[in-house]
């Protein structure tokens, strides 16, 4: 009896305490219903409402509303969200909970959260490439009306490419851009100018420049350095670089031409053909001028080597430009559009043909440039099943983060991982100077970005259902096997084609073709 009483006496207080505790400190999700105060609902239900546009008392508009945002643990990408959240909370009374996870797990976490009806996240700051998997089943909120009527966001200030492609799917806006991503080549401007060497225009030039500087002491420490540093680690960014190298060989007639599949029959362009053979061989040759462990180096490694002056060339997103201040590479770095090719793939024969006015109408001096908008840039999307007041609050926060005043600062800071994507980011040079770039460096950097963004042959990243499997599984594995010598070029091309065809068949060829064509059907 006494034991029974003791157990009961021990359990009852525990249960009572647990109950008290849970009611005293509700979880973020349980806080949502409490937030449905009449005032908040009324304000939030106004179309395209935002913190700065509605005449509400500062600090009360989203009072009591707590929103969960899933994103990358970087520490970039999550950093600006976490740093800016208290400011927004001060302005609106809302609360932002940033849930940061590893890059490899964002996609499955977000998709499973939405598809299983768990809906523990109100918004996702993720890769807009994955929209194909989210918009079809209706997991994302249509933001078209909101963004076009939001003075805080200033939608028209966002670059046309990022507005029309990154944020839009099948004519509807689903994401708010926070970052602008595409590849460029960075070079040691001081060295090339001293030697009278021009920045590489073609990939053959790239290899020649890399060979010239490989093994020389590039940073004055008495040790030999490297001609080229391109991250090649499996499970990291390796597959994006091969797309960049192949892009100019695959796409000649403008963005709508596509660089991944033949838009008439969904046959993979990354398959057995001369363009991919050449791209693979070029990619492998860059190894000869890189650090010995380049095969195991991710983009963090290549950035570290370039900013410490150990590489003459590298390929990267816009991040290098903002990482150079206070490093060895400050004021020694030049940026240029990703090199192109003087040949392009004839899709009917699988052979390479010379660029001319018909095959490469956008070529400059005979070089077909095809800057690759890899990844596309971190963007915020809202869960269609999140409570209405949470949708309004999290939209307001994302709009605040993307607003010209806020993003104009964040894109100049290397720690954010965000790159410029608004017209105002290019027009207003002062924040760049404040961030530590010199006037010439800032102008060079922004000029390279502009020349890529205005190129009519820009390559859109793949954005159809199961995109992640096409690129991060099949392409990444095959390219990694090629670089490691497990497969030859022909075997690699066949492995990619077989893997891609299997995924296409799994979803349905017609469905995937329609999705691919729709993703390219942007009128710019």
């Amino acid at each position: 009896m006494s034991r029974y009483r003791m157990v009961a006496a021990a359990i009852i207080p525990i249960l009572v305490l647990s109950a008290c505790n849970s009611s005293a400190s509700p979880s973020p999700s349980s806080a949502a219903p409490q937030a449905s105060t009449p005032a908040a609902t009324t304000q939030a239900s106004a179309p395209a409402a935002s913190a700065s546009t509605v005449a509400a008392s500062p600090g009360t508009k989203f009072k009591g509303i707590s929103v969960n945002i899933l994103t990358f643990n970087g520490p970039q990408v999550a950093e600006p969200l976490q740093r800016r959240a208290p400011d927004w909370e001060q302005l609106t009374g809302g609360h932002v909970n940033v849930v940061a996870v590893g890059f490899q797990t964002i996609y499955d976490k977000a998709l499973l959260d939405a598809s299983t009806g768990t809906n523990s996240f109100d918004a996702y700051v993720f890769d807009p490439q994955w929209m194909g998997d989210f918009t079809g089943p209706g997991y994302l909120l249509d933001l078209t009306d909101r963004v076009t009527n939001d003075p805080q966001l200033n939608w028209q200030d966002i670059g046309p490419f990022f507005r029309d492609f990154n944020a839009t799917y099948n004519g509807k806006v689903y994401t708010i851009p926070l970052d602008g991503d595409f590849h460029m080549v960075y070079y040691r401007k001081d060295l090339l100018e001293k030697d009278g060497v021009k920045p590489p225009a073609t990939w053959d030039d790239y290899l020649a420049v890399a060979q010239k500087y490989n093994g020389q002491d590039l940073n004055g420490d008495g040790q030999p350095d490297y001609g080229s540093c391109i991250a090649k680690k499996k499970g990291a960014q390796s597959y994006w670089w091969i797309i960049s190298i192949a892009a100019g060989l695959l796409q000649g007639k403008g963005t709508n031409d596509g660089a991944f599949f033949d838009t008439s029959n969904m046959n993979p362009l990354f398959g057995p053909n001369e363009a991919i053979t050449k791209a693979l061989e070029t990619y492998a040759k860059t190894k000869d001028f890189g650090p010995p462990d380049e095969l195991n180096m991710d983009v963090g490694g290549s950035r570290g080597l370039f900013t410490t002056g150990r590489c003459a060339l590298t390929m990267d997103w816009g991040d290098i430009g903002t990482l150079t201040p206070s490093t060895y590479a400050q004021d020694k770095t030049g940026a240029t559009i990703t090199p192109g090719w003087t040949q392009v793939l004839d899709r009917a024969s699988g052979k390479l043909v010379a660029c001319d006015a018909t095959t490469c109408p956008n070529a400059v001096n005979g070089v077909n440039y095809a800057p690759f908008a890899s990844f596309g840039g971190w963007s915020g999307a809202i869960n269609a099943k999140a409570p209405k007041e949470n949708q309004d609050a999290v939209y307001d926060f994302l709009s605040y983060m993307s607003s010209p005043a806020i993003s104009g600062i964040d894109v100049t800071l290397g720690k954010t991982g965000y790159n410029p994507y608004r017209t105002s980011h290019f027009d207003n040079i002062q924040p760049w100077l404040d961030a530590g770039l010199s006037q010439p460096a800032a102008e060079n950097y922004l000029g390279a970005i502009k020349s890529s963004l205005t190129n009519a042959n820009m390559v859109l990243d793949l954005r159809i259902p199961l995109t992640k499997r096409y690129e991060q599984d099949v392409l990444d594995t095959a390219v990694s096997q090629y670089l490691a010598g497990e497969l030859d070029a022909a075997g690699t091309e066949q492995a990619i084609a077989d893997g891609w065809n299997a995924i296409t068949e799994e979803v349905g060829k017609d469905k995937q073709l329609a999705a691919y064509v729709a993703s390219l059907g942007v009128q710019r």
Partner: protein, 397 residues
Amino acid sequence: MASSDSSLELEPREPVPSGSAFRARATRRAAQTADAWRSDGAARWLFIWPAVLLILVLSIFPLVASVALSLGRLAFHQGGVDLKIIGFANYQQLLFGLERSHFLGVLKAPNPIGWAVVLATLALCAVAWTRAARGGRVRPIGLLLRLVGGLLLVGSVWVLVQALASDGGRPGALIVTLIFVFAGIVLQYALGLGLAMLLVQQVPWRRFFRIVFLIPLTITPVGVGYMFLMMTDTSKGPLEPIWVALGLRDFTWVTDPWLARLAVIIGDTWQWTPFVFIVLLAALESLDQEVREAALVDGAGRWQSFRHITLPAILPVTTTIILIRLIEGFKIIDMPNILLGGGPGTATQSLTLQAYIDWNTLNLGRSAAIAYLLLILVSVVATVYVSFVRRRVTDLA
């Protein structure tokens, strides 16, 4: 037990009770028994069933649900997700289809060494089976099971040599995992036993080294992965000056598949040797010193003492350690993933890493199929190991 014993001793000494006193005592006893039963029953219910339910919910249900997952494919639709059953297509893809080269490897005709290994295995199995059949101690069903086991062994060796001892062959995730497991266990046991033998002696700083040797075990595997990632980085890692001083500026762990696998095995060994060490140290310290001293007095050498006294004495502990490391080793993922991402190529891609990659791309069906094949493999290897070792331990006893 103590209370019941004392009551047995006291009962005969008590006077015979009167009728009313007897009834009162009987009532009181019945009430006490009911309370005791209620108390014990409640406690049993309270303490056991939550755990049982938790295990059922967290282990058994997912185990059953993942069978369905491995036979299906996810399809996302408006407002939800469906599991479309596709039979054994995921298993077919892994064992015979598009993923075979990643799962099993590229299998080519064995070279002469490979043939020699296969024939030697075949001969050993034949001899063992013939001896068992002639001995007359094994029942027919036992002989049949031995035959099946022998064929499985020869088949496994055939696959192994086609991947490892052939021209153009390449091991897949399954064989890479086996390499990690067996190479890791051998190294960890040898080092752990050596360190335990060393520290069981009265050496200076004994207590300090015991603690130091345990540190790797306390670090999270992901942390160990990042530590080895830095240490093996020859171009910009913290050990770069040492590599350069040793004339290994252009040396790299990552372009050669076997060096990459070695790096993973070294990292895994660094982390798990302390586990083997601490358990063996406890086993060695509990040994009866008199037996060894008597052997030494009788003229046995150190090696003889170790071989015939120490090793048999710690055999039960050894069996357990190896079984634990065997089961744990098959699940290796952190080190190959953090250190090399499974590369170069697929050189360090373990089964769990392959399942993880599929999981990340929401190919949950194939991921579950890999997990089930791993479960079968671990179960077979562990069962064979346990039955093999049990017989040896019984023989020794």
